[in-house]
């Protein structure tokens, strides 16, 4: 339970770039409709690749968010970050000009930063030599630059940093922002994640690890978390930014509140660079820590937004971890993975999923796990198969587990004053 002196943290704005839509309205509508954003790859020629599918963000027009000069000096991942931040601030009706910028921080996660620019410039190095490398190269590729650019483009001068924990980056970013707000280091923090990894060498790397789905003939059915015939995750891109505020600051300006960040748990498997620890011990512990932090017992959880990548190992071990924490209640609580629809956006995933949880607690709707056709005996929970479900969601738990064994869990609850 929080001591009296600690601030409560609420979510007041949501900014989304996803394979199923840009903006929270399009995003939520698509998720509840069970729409897939996965299709054949268009960002590069994938003929030589085992996996030829991805969740690309459609119709992103950088000029809607940045001027020409800014676009030239930002990698796609930073463009996405700035765009999502602007959408979130707009959604929150947060007038930055009327706020003290020193009180507004930025914490944005990214797994790999500006890899697209890195690869393009490396080709220049090989073909034209070192003297032709862009002077913008370093600032464009470094992973902190989405957070840096958000400050440059929007003006916040509060604590500003990037969290890198692979597929848990977005969740860790939100968790760390929550801790800072709770202790009063800022009054508002733009928190989330951004990732644009759909580039040849990254895809080749994931293919080589046999981590990604090769169900190329039916792209929309390829991401099938918890299903018996799942064959790997589908790589995708995206960005999610949440406006987090102390309750005091949000109330003072009459902000609309989606939900409250009530708990955060963070542990490490300390096991393997890519495989989860088979007993899910530390994953379970991260869930427990988050719930204890929130002062909420497992039986009060109404929805679990799973990491649910559609890999053999994650889905099985995550199921085990859920059972360890929830016992019998594991069989009663709906568990769904929106990666079934938007694929795995790596550093952005935790943020996009937290946004889904915020919308879930504020609307009492739970998005489905689509493509659920054949149950797996080792994954025997209620995964909200194929159809969204309307049910009271007072407490949602969001799991994110990253390569390297990084476990990050958030508890988001309905705001009731």
């Amino acid at each position: 339970m929080l001591p009296e002196s600690k601030q409560r943290v609420v979510i007041t704005g949501l900014g989304v770039l996803s394979p199923v839509g840009i903006g929270k309205e399009a995003y939520w509508k698509a998720l509840l409709r069970g729409q897939s954003g996965i299709d054949r790859l268009t960002r590069f020629d994938s003929s030589l690749y085992d996996s030829k599918i991805a969740g690309e963000v459609k119709d992103f027009v950088p000029e809607q968010f940045l001027d020409r000069k800014e676009i030239r000096r930002t990698d796609r991942f930073a463009q996405f970050g700035v765009a999502a931040a602007k959408l979130a601030v707009g959604d929150a009706a947060l007038e930055l000009g009327e706020e003290d910028p020193e009180n507004i921080g930025v914490v944005i996660g990214s797994g790999i930063g500006g890899i697209e620019t890195l690869c393009e410039q490396h080709s220049v190095l090989l073909s034209k030599g070192p003297n032709r490398i862009s002077p913008f190269f370093i600032p464009m590729i470094i992973s902190n630059m989405a957070a840096g650019q958000i400050a440059i483009c929007l003006g916040p001068k509060g604590p500003n940093f990037t969290v890198v924990t692979a597929c848990a980056s977005g969740a860790n970013a939100i968790g760390e922002a929550y801790l800072m707000l709770r202790r009063g280091a800022a009054e508002v923090i733009l928190a989330g994640g951004t990732e644009t990894p759909i580039v040849p060498v990254a895809m080749a790397g994931f293919c080589s690890m046999k981590a990604v789905s090769t169900s190329n003939d039916e792209p929309q059915r390829a991401s099938r978390p918890f299903d018996k015939n799942r064959d790997g995750f589908v790589i995708s891109e995206g960005a999610g930014v949440l406006v987090l505020e102390t309750l005091g600051h949000a109330s003072a300006r009459g902000a609309r509140v989606y939900g409250e960040v009530a708990g955060y748990g963070c542990t490490a498997d300390g096991y393997h660079i890519s495989a989860p620890e088979p007993e899910g011990t530390e994953a379970a512990r991260a869930i427990r820590i988050a719930l204890e932090d929130a002062g909420i017992s497992p039986d009060r959880v109404d929805y679990i937004n799973a990491h649910g990548t559609s890999t053999e190992l994650n889905d099985k071990i995550e199921t085990l971890a859920i059972k360890k924490v929830f016992g019998d209640h594991a069989y009663k609580v709906p568990v769904s993975s929106i990666k079934s629809m938007i694929g795995h956006s790596l550093g952005a995933a935790g943020a996009l999923e937290a946004i889904a949880c915020a919308l879930s607690v504020s609307t009492d709707w739970v998005p489905p796990t689509i493509n659920y056709e054949q149950p797996d005996p080792e994954c025997d929970l209620d995964y909200v198969p194929n159809q969204a479900r309307q049910c009271p969601v007072r407490v949602a738990v969001s799991n994110s587990f990253g390569f390297g064994g990084h476990n990050a869990v958030l508890v988001i609850k309905k705001f009731e004053g």
Partner: protein, 81 residues
């Protein structure tokens, strides 16, 4: 590029500036300084690189430091290509 006249050089330089600095074409005249177009140090380096590539010349650092306006850049290119 020896047969390019002043106007042709200016137009090429202008199109590079418009693309890289995000300014409008009619804001670029011979007297316009790069500073006035909000070019920072990284912009200048990129501009010099683009001029080198476009006109097939080398612009050493000491010379580059003196190119403060569109006009001086055009003159340098004419003298060295």
């Amino acid at each position: 590029m020896a047969d390019l006249n002043d106007q042709a050089i200016f137009e090429k330089v202008r199109s590079i500036i418009v693309e890289q600095l995000g300014v409008e074409e009619n804001a670029v005249a011979l007297e316009t300084s790069f500073e006035a177009m909000n070019a920072d140090s990284l912009d200048i380096v990129e501009l010099i690189m683009a001029l080198e590539e476009t006109f097939g010349i080398e612009i050493p650092d000491e010379a580059a430091e003196k190119l403060l306006t569109v006009g001086t850049a055009v003159e340098y290119i004419k003298a060295n290509s």
